[in-house]
Amino acid sequence: MTELGQHLIDALALGSLYALIALGITLVYTVMGMMNFAHGEFIMLAAYALYVLAGLPFGVAVAAALLTGSLVALLAERVAFRPVRNADLSAQLVTSLAVAAILQNIVTVAVNARAQSVETPAGLSETTSIGGLLVPNLEFVTLGLTAIVLGGLGWLLYRTRTGLTMRAAAENFDMARLLGVRADRVIAISFAISGALAAAVGVLIVMQTGQVSPTMGLTPVLVGFVAVVIGGFGRIFGAVIGGLLLGILSSLLGVYLPDGLVPFRDAIVFTVPVLILIFRPHGLLGGEVGRARV
């Protein structure tokens, strides 16, 4: 029984991580109508910030990483995404792919193509005992962080004027502008938050794996995409659900999959969403592709 409980907490923690990725991607999707390939590189760059600033106190390094995520996202929006804002979805997707390739290779040139190891604070690799369960501290942090993020995002979106303008812009961008909402500002804020979320994910991944590499963002961004798609495009709640489901599935497969199939865990995990898409082409919770226009 305790073993099951253990596995469930592990699964929940992984699901939370995936939910955070999905959230970051959805935020940008709702205001831009674009699925951002480069989100994985925001994650990666924030992780490298930790690597580069390894000497500094942990808190400072994390703050720097968060800042890095937001700044890179804002920069990408200003330079690369704004010019293609009105292009069709495919064009925006390919543009984000280009940005991802550029960012990934900047790091390869600046640092190294190989993975580098990063020291993690001792406390995080320990476990704490709760009611007979041994829970890695990192998982506490992940769960806690996700809860805080969800709460904070909820507060921002539903209790502040900025959040109101974001929700309105997400539903009908043109109409919001007709009411005086500044398009550029809303998009910039969405990107900044998205970047910060990516950074948080990057930090958590580094804490988990103890290393960084230029290609570390690829699988997370795919996970995020798939979670958004199965949750239903553009639904913030759906993204969270999608992420949780994917994480739980992945984690439980990792435990219960027969030995011979373990290396193929990822393959199986990603085939499931495709099956979901066949029966529910708009995702589990439904959702509209693209933005509404006046």
């Binding site: 109101l164 043109d174 007709l178 009411l179 005086g180 909402v181």
Partner: protein, 233 residues
């Protein structure tokens, strides 16, 4: 107040508005009527910066509107109640209003005033906007437009899809606004009420103004019937 000078609007290679001149004076209620496809909505989109005109311009007071982004046009004091209303369905009535209210301290007060003018909205203040009936949505759209205390209120087909009784209610509302001196530009395909209501109407057909004048002038003008129903036998 608003001047359209030689406005031409096109999408790609297709021109739908072939040089339109129109003016709206302060305190006036001006109508634009004409059949579907005449270009009325395109003219509005050009005024509000949703589409760039291919030639000509729109001038508001001393500012040239053409080339501005929609949010800039809105901040100059023009408010649009678009065709189909486009209220935010995932927001509550109150949130819809709050969004439109000026962000400064006045915000709460004008929202209150709006709810006062539209009692039915006050009743439904906490409901999600997609639960409102067509007529209620229209009222919300108008209330929302008014909140910005616009200098010019533009309405695109406000009676579309509404039951006759509801149309009566809406027009009563508009009458009231008229009394208060709100300047209005009203676009309708249904000519009857518009000609009745407005000081002046311009009849549009296939991208051009075919006739312009007051109610009595238009009722004497055979071009109006022709624009709608084709030549009389």
């Amino acid at each position: 107040m608003l001047e359209l000078e030689g406005l031409r609007v096109g999408y790609g290679r297709i021109e739908v508005v072939h040089g339109v001149d129109l003016s709206v004076g302060e305190g006036e209620a001006v109508g634009m009527i004409g059949p579907n496809g005449a270009g009325k909505s395109s003219i509005l989109r050009a005024i509000f910066g949703l589409v760039r005109p291919t030639a000509g311009r729109a001038v508001f007071g001393d500012r040239v509107l053409t080339g501005m982004a929609p949010e800039q046009v809105a901040r100059l004091g023009l408010a649009l109640v678009p065709e189909g209303r486009h209220i935010f369905k995932t927001l509550t009535v109150e949130e819809n209003l709050r969004l439109a209210a000026p962000a400064d301290g006045d915000g709460a007060e004008s929202t209150e005033a709006a709810l006062g003018r539209f009692p039915i909205l006050r009743e439904r203040a906490r409901r999600r906007a997609d639960r409102l009936s067509g007529g209620e949505q229209q009222q919300l759209a108008i209330a929302r437009a008014l909140l910005g205390r616009p200098k010019l209120l533009v309405l695109d087909e406000p009676s579309l899809g509404l039951a006759p009784k509801m149309i009566d209610t809406i027009y009563e509302l508009l009458h009231g606004l008229r009394e208060e001196g709100v300047t209005m530009l009203l676009v309708e395909q249904n000519a009857a009420r518009t000609i009745d209501f407005c000081d002046r109407c311009a009849v549009l057909s296939t991208g051009k103004v075919r006739a312009q004048g007051s109610r009595s002038e238009l009722q004497r003008n055979p071009d109006v019937l022709r624009a709608y129903l084709g030549r009389q036998p």
